[in-house]
Structures are given as structure tokens and as C-alpha cells.
Symmetry: C2
Subunit: 191 residues, 2 copies
């Protein structure tokens, strides 16, 4: 089996291409070379170039939102929740690096109303993440730091894992999850 439709191939190759060159620099002619269809043929399968971007951004946003929802359901312990969120980011980043890169780095090229919708989802996700940290501080499990700084320092290191993680570094998923958790939870210092 492993037989892919043209439509599937378009979306897959586009994610790789958009990651490599950036959405704006990637042309439909570039995509044509990769997919093996003429640019005009794409339009039997998609409405526009931006539709590809929209789908990639939306699908990945859903992965994170759904993941966060499941985590909140599973445990009330802020530390366990934080560890689970870190694993969520690691897993998504590793499973489809191209797709998550486009989601994370190219969303700004969405047009309205997709851009506004995207930003709303994004803010909601950040809010849910923030609640975990706040709960931990309240329970005296977590250090009391400026809430924005704590949230974004952690979230930023998770959001751009795709940027430096390369399969050829041969770091297995479990090590990546555990070491990132270890570092963000306990710090680099031994004392």
C-alpha cells in the first residue's frame, strides 16, 4: 500500500519546501519540481497556495490544543502536567518536523480571518500553559518568578526544538524528553 494521492503528496512536499525556504520564498514552481506535477495541476486539488499553509497551521494547532486538554484531564498535579506538556512538544516536534516548523515559523503569512483565528488559539494555549505554572507556584511546588518570564522561557525552549533537533544527532525521544524535563524543572546547576 503506501500509495499516496496527489493531494497528499502536495501537502507533504509543501511542508518540506516551506520549512526549507520559508513560505514566501517557496514558489509553486519549486513545489512542482518536487511533486512531479505542473503548477497548474495543483489547482485541481487545492484552491490556493495559502490553503496549504492554512491546513498545516490548523492541524498542528489542533494537536497542541488537544494534547493540552488531555493533559489537564489526566492529572491535577502541576509538576506532572508540566512534564507531560514537555513530552507533548517533544513528540510533536519529532514526529513531523517539517509540519511543525511551518506551523511555528510561517503562520504570520496567513491572511485574515485565518490569522486572527490562529492567534486566538495560540493565546488560549499560552493561557492554559500559564495556568499550570501559576498552580504550581500557588502550591509552593514551583519557584515564584515573573509569570510571563517563566512561561515564555520554558515555552520558547519547547517551541523551537524542531529548529535544532536533527535525526542525525541520534538522540532518542526518551533521552530528549527526560533531559529537557530535567533541565527546565531542576536547572543546569547541581546545587
Amino acid at each position: 500500500m503506501e500509495v499516496k494521492t496527489s493531494k497528499e503528496r502536495i501537502f507533504e512536499e509543501a511542508a518540506i519546501l516551506f520549512r526549507e525556504k520559508g513560505y514566501r520564498a517557496a514558489s509553486m514552481r519549486d513545489l512542482s519540481d518536487r511533486v512531479g506535477l505542473k503548477p497548474s495541476s495543483f489547482y485541481n486539488h487545492i484552491k490556493s497556495k495559502e490553503e496549504i499553509l492554512q491546513k498545516i497551521c490548523l492541524e498542528n494547532a489542533k494537536k497542541f490544543v488537544d494534547g493540552m486538554k488531555a493533559i489537564k484531564k489526566e492529572s491535577d498535579d502541576p509538576l506532572k502536567q508540566l512534564q507531560a506538556v514537555i513530552r507533548l512538544h517533544v513528540d510533536i516536534a519529532i514526529k513531523d518536523r517539517s509540519s511543525v516548523t511551518v506551523f511555528n515559523d510561517e503562520w504570520k503569512h496567513l491572511s485574515e480571518p485565518f490569522l486572527s483565528d490562529f492567534l486566538k488559539m495560540r493565546k488560549r494555549y499560552e493561557k492554559e500553559f500559564s495556568k499550570i505554572i501559576e498552580a504550581g507556584v500557588k502550591k509552593k511546588i514551583f519557584r515564584k518568578l515573573n509569570p510571563s518570564i517563566a512561561l515564555f522561557t520554558i515555552l520558547t525552549s519547547l517551541r523551537w526544538i524542531h529548529y535544532w533537533y536533527k535525526p542525525k544527532r541520534k538522540i532518542d525521544v526518551k533521552t530528549l524528553e527526560n533531559d529537557v524535563i530535567n533541565l527546565l524543572v531542576h536547572g543546569i546547576s547541581k546545587v
Copy 2:
């Protein structure tokens, strides 16, 4: 005083524009609107659009390389060095947010040989950063983690400070420096 040459205004406004729209999506016509010169007039001051990108990338790269050099000179203590590097990233990110954003996020649009030169500098910087962590591990000051994971988890949270730090959040520089140091050195957990 405060009288800026056209050339200065072109580079300043370009940094802001490239940050907002991305290098490829930002046109010379967009820049024209901001600077108040016709696109054709730019070419009395610059050679090409890419020259602007080149200058921004190179200048910022130099800031980091020079900063790292000074830090290594000042102390041999890995912890003090790490703290100083964190302050370096915070200070550069806050002092000129647009410029550092373009440097960090748009370098991929450099053409050769600028791209290769840039990547070489970048790798050297990462190596110098890595040496700090390795020295700390050797002295048993730092936790022993996978070297790539430790390096990039920390470095990533520093490289994208510009992405979430906004002046209107009213976080002062000292708080930002201290909380980021606190979090990365000791972790979010109290225990």
C-alpha cells in the same frame, strides 16, 4: 542633533519592516512608504535589498561574538560565564529588538557566500557556548545531560527572547535577566 541620514533611515526602517513581514514578504515599495523615498532612490545609498539583510546579520553576529569573547576573558567560572551569556542575550534582544529578530529569523535568505560565512560564525558561537557547559559539567557544578540538549534548550530560550518580550509588558531588564538566570540555572521547581 538627532538628524538621521537617508541611509540610516533606510536601515532602521528596513529592520522594523523585515521583522514585521519577514524579509521575502517585505518589498522595496513597502520600505519606500516608511522611509518616504521612492524605491529607486534607495539605490543611491545601497547596492541591493540583500545588502540591508547582510549588514543587519553581520552586525548582530559581531555583537554576540564580541560579547562571548569578553565573557571568557573576564572569568573562568562556568556558572559566572553562563550568567553573563544570559545577560548578553537579554541585553542585545532588548536594545534593538527589530535588528536582532531579523538577524535571528531571516538569515536563511542570505545568498552565498554570506550564508556560509554566517553559518560558520554561528557554529563557532555555539561551540563557545557549549564549552562553558562542558567545563561546568567537568567541575561538577553542572548537571550531566546530553551536551546538545543542554546547549540548545538553554540557547533556544535565549535566542527567541525577542519573540515574546514586548516593551509594553513592562518587565525591566534586571528582572528579565535575573528570572531567566534563575530559571535556567535552578529550574522551575523549588525542590
